[in-house]
Structures are given as C-alpha cells and as structure tokens.
Amino acid sequence: MQFSSRAVVLLTAVLTAFTARADDLKIGLIAPFSGSETAGLEMDYGIKAFFKLHGDVVAGRKVVVINRDAPTPAPDVARRLAQELVTRDKVDVLAGHLFTPTAITAGQVSTQSKTPMLIMNAATSGILAKLPYTARASFTVAQTTAPLAWWAAKNGMKRIFSIVADYAPGIDSENTFQREFVGAGGAMAGSIRVPLDTIDFSSYIRRIQDSETGGVFAFLPAPDQAKNFIKTFRDAGLDKKGIKLLVEGGMLQPQITATLDDDAIGTISSQHYSEDHQSPENKAFVEAYKSVSGNRVPTYISVGAFDAMNMLYKAVEAQAGKLDPVKSVEIWRNMTFESPRGPVSFDPKTRDIVQNIYIRRLERKNGVLTNVEFETYRAVKDNGKQ
C-alpha cells in the first residue's frame, strides 16, 4: 500500500515532467498562495476564467502556468523564485505580484534575463520606469484615489480628514488625495497615518469626531483593518452626524463587504473594477469566474490576472507564437481593449494603464452588499490626470 501510493506519486511526477513539452508557453506566476492572503487564488481563478473563455492554446502553443508561493512582501523570496522560474523552468514570461517589493525584485530578474513580465496587482506608481520588459495590467493607488478627491470637491465637500495605512501605497494615496482635493478648493481637516498592526480604531474615530470634519477619506486595504475601521466608524454613528465616508475601492472587496452589516450601506468608494460593472464583457467574465472558482465573486486582483492573460495572448499571436521582450513591450504599450472593467489603454511613454475610474456606492443588491457604480471618470492616467 505504502509502496504503491509512492509509485503513483512518482509516476505522476514523471508524467507531468513529460507532459510539459518544450513548445509549451510557460508562465511563472509569483503570488501569495499560502498563509492568509487570497491573492494567489484570485489570480489563479482569473487565469482559469480566461482559459474557459479563450482556450489554453495560443498560436499553436499550449499555455502552462507554474505557480510559486510568495506569501509576504519579502523581496529576496521573490528574487529567488523568479531566478528559479527563469533558469530551471525556462518560463517564457513572469507574472503575478500582489506586492510592490516582489514586483521590483522579480522585475530585476526579468530585466537581466530579458524575460517579459506582466504585473497583475502591485500598485505603486513609477515602478515600471526601471523595468524595461514589464507591463502592468492592474492600476496604481494614485490613479484610483484622485477621482475620489475630484468627486468630493465637485459634490460640495469642504473639509475632509484623511486616514491611511502607514506604508508606501498608503502614503501615495494620502498625498494624491490631499493634492487633488486641496487643488480643487477643499481643505484637509487633519490626517493620520496608521501603523499596519493597528487593530483597534476607536481612538482614531474619536479624533476624527473632534476635528469636526465633513468627510473622511480612508485607505486601509488590509481586510481586518478595512473591516474594523468601517465597523467602528458606523458603530460610533459618525455617518448619522453627517460625516461622509469615502474609501479607496480596495477596502470594499467582496471578501470584506461580506463581513459588513447593513449600516455600512452608503459608503462611497472609487476603483477601476466592480463585479457589478454593467457590460457584456464583465457578465461573461463573472460567469466564467464563478464556474471555475466554486461560485466566488471576482475581485480587482482577478480582473488584473484576466487582462494580463489577454495582453499575453495578443502579444504571442502578433509574433506568431514567439515572445520577444522588446516587441512584446512595444505591443503592450500601444494596446487598447475592452476589459471586464471597461475600456483600457496604455500610456505609450510610461507603459502604465489608462482606464476608467468609477465612483461607487455600497448597496444591497440581490441580497448581497455590492459596490454599485454611479459615476465614471474616463481614461484616468497613473498620476491622477485625465
């Protein structure tokens, strides 16, 4: 019994080794698969949804994804994984990255080995400048934050208090929001940077209360922080005192909204993707995603993976099955297509994505708390310019 099961394992390993043929198109995906992060799975399902809609063969090459686990932002782990993927597994393209630090070190491997790379999340501005063979199919925090400031100013909000997580993307969002909101004639009622290990938000809520602000802008994307902040905000009844809550869309992912109660209804957020986006492309994507993931709801991370696959397919098709790093990047920087999130193009200079940013309101729709889009800022660039 012991022996036979080992033999099966061995046989399977041998078979897998043989079934991965030389002409396969290999993707080395680096993302968190273990620990408490769900991003790796969200990317995996996004890719499978793409396979379901467009097949797993492109220009005659079968597409094989090799998943590698980088559970934390640790840059050295990502570098090692990228090196292994390039030298041992001989992947054609690197992909993935929830975190900016892993995107940067894996990107250095991509640069040195001239392997093209597609970022599916990692949302810090400016990282593409030093990575010549990399494109980003996701967004930047500055890009999703700026329209929220425009919207607040346009809707007559005068004073806003900003509260962000104290790390690079949080500081990006704080700076962007302040710049755009003050530029549009608003004033900041105060700002706080919250340590990443913060769990109890009661003190910050009291401070916000003291500032007599008309609104709060929050960027606290870690699920527990997002949930605890919104719950404490509502529990303290700040919304009933006329303080409006504006958050960056990452704080209202489906897995977070599932933990919220009805009193969170009305929270305003801005982002490039809502699973509720009304378009035939998104309808097909959501259906395919649900069928490959056991009925889960896609997130902005899944749509990043889905669109990265689209970019990859277009590049491979245009080069008749090849994937030259320089030509691929040339194709990506000039691409436009209709994504489940809406129309997407790229800034030919910076290679960064240009897309619609939607203002959404949290509502109960078909029994589920959903971010319903109600206003669109078209073709927003990375630096928060239209």
Binding site: G35, I192, D200, R206, P223, D224, N228, D235, T259
Partner: protein, 286 residues
C-alpha cells in the same frame, strides 16, 4: 471631553488581551513552558463562534459558551497528546514545537474556512453606542468589559478560595515541593492548560468583532499576548491583568493623543518596564 471615552475604549481592549493571555500566564508560570501557539486556541474559539453563528444559526450569546468549551476541548486533547511530552524539553525545542503548532493551525484554518477574514453580524442589541458618565462607548465594548470583569472575578475566587487554587499557587511557587507534598502536578497542569485554552477561546470569540478573525490571527497578536504575560509576570492573574490594562489603555490613549508616534510610545514603555522589572510587574525572581 473624550478622555473618559478613550479610557473606556482602552479598558475594553485590555479586557480582551487579558482574557486571551490569562491561560498563557499560568502555563508559563507553572511549567516554564513557552507556548507560542497560545493564540491558536483563541483562534479556535473565534472560528467556533463564527461557524456556529453563520452555518448552524446559533444565536451570538449562545456561541460564547460553545467557543469556551470547544477551545477547551482542543486544549485538553493537545495537552494530553503533545504538550506534556515536552515539559522537560529545552526552551528551544518548545519554541520550535509551538511555532509548528502555529503554522499547522494557520494552514488548517485556511483549509477549513478559506483564507479570508471571517464575517460576524452582531445582534442589534449589541450594536450602536451608549452614553456613560457623559462619554460614549460602543455597546459591544461595554459588554466585553462586563463579561471579562465577571470572568476575572470568577478566576480570582477560584485561585484564592478553592482547594484547586491553593494547589495551583503552591505548584507555581515551588513545583518540587508541591510534588513532594503529594500534589498531582501533572493533573493540575492538564486542568490549567485546558482552562487557559478555554478562556482564550472565549476571548477569541469576543475578539472577532474588535480584533477580526483570519487564519493568521494567532501570529498577528502573538506579540501582544507575550507582552501582557512578560510585562505582567507569569504565574499569576493579577500581573497580566495589570499589564493588559497598561498595554490597552496606553495603546488607545497614545493613538488618540499622539497618532504620529504610531506604536512607538507603547513599545518604549514596555522596554522601560522590563528594564525596571525584569521579572515582570508581579513576577518573582527565580
């Protein structure tokens, strides 16, 4: 004037830290066993609460005793099957073992309940805020404080007035003498461990609302649990209670009055306290 409110928030936070860490203090005091996986029992309680509520439809208040019992049962099984084999082992072995337990608990939680943060929907009578001496505090925080104060008083009277409590104090003070006097320290340890795990489970269930719950729970709050026990001094309940109050109130107050310092104030004070009281506020030199 928010001072009273900030104070009350701090006390609520402290209550949670105390109820989760109390068991850790006893196991460390009794056996000098560094159980880094203690938070896993709180996590078991949290998941028991959420699962009973969301999947089985048990009302919230009824899930609290269930979380207490289920976490206790886990503690009992693990103590009998694994922990007791390592009481005589070196600290390094114990640390490696308990970190292993931590990793297994995280992976099991991901496998059973998924990697995401768990939802909890409190009954309406625990939501909202109430006024209290002119300050406002959330109803749930007040509920937590009242429940934990009741549990702490129960604990204190068990330790102070029962035969079991006397044996426990005796064994913490001098284990060899306790064995010599015919006290069954092994059995004492099993009971204390089980009870400590059950308390942590209750704390975990209460903490779902205020701390959140995901598979990395036991890792995330490990530092706080250890702080409470190390600063308070292991082996008693009074030390951790005092330390939890200091940690909870100082953390909350520094975030309100000086948010730009982050967690700096808290850790600075912890360093100062440990320099002044190397054995903890209530610990004895060994």
């Amino acid at each position: 004037m928010q001072f009273v409110g900030v104070l009350l928030d701090g006390i609520a936070y402290a209550s949670l830290l105390f109820i989760i860490s109390a068991g850790l203090s006893i196991t460390m005091g009794l056996m000098q066993f560094a159980n880094l996986a203690h938070g896993a029992f709180a996590m078991v309680g949290g998941y028991a609460c959420v699962y009973c509520m969301n999947a089985l439809g048990v009302p919230y208040l009824a899930t609290l005793p269930l979380a207490f019992l289920i976490a206790g049962a886990f503690g009992l099984v693990l103590e009998l099957a694994l922990y007791r084999r390592l009481y005589e082992a070196s600290h390094l072995t114990q640390v490696l073992f308990t970190v292993g337990v931590l990793n297994v608990s995280t992976a099991s939680a991901v496998f059973l309940f998924g990697a995401g943060s768990q939802p909890i929907h409190l009954p309406s009578y625990l939501q909202g805020q109430i006024s209290f001496f002119g300050a406002t505090i959330s109803t749930f925080r007040l509920f937590t404080v009242v429940l934990v104060v009741a549990m702490a008083m129960l604990l204190a009277s068990i330790v102070r007035f029962t035969r079991f409590g006397a044996q426990l104090r005796c064994a913490v003070d001098n284990r060899r003498a306790a064995i010599g006097m015919g006290i069954n320290v092994d059995r004492l340890m099993t009971i204390a461990f089980t009870f400590g795990s059950a308390l942590a489970g209750l704390g975990g269930a209460l903490g779902v609302q205020l701390l959140g719950l995901d598979p990395s729970f036991a890792f995330k709050y490990l530092v706080y649990f250890l702080l409470v026990v190390v600063v308070g001094g292991s082996g008693s309940f009074v030390g951790p209670l005092l330390a939890a109050l200091i940690v909870g109130m100082l953390d909350t107050a520094s975030r309100y009055y000086a948010p730009e310092t982050g967690s700096f104030t808290l850790y600075l004070l912890m360093v100062a306290l440990l320099v002044m009281f190397p054995n903890g506020l209530y610990g004895r030199a060994r």
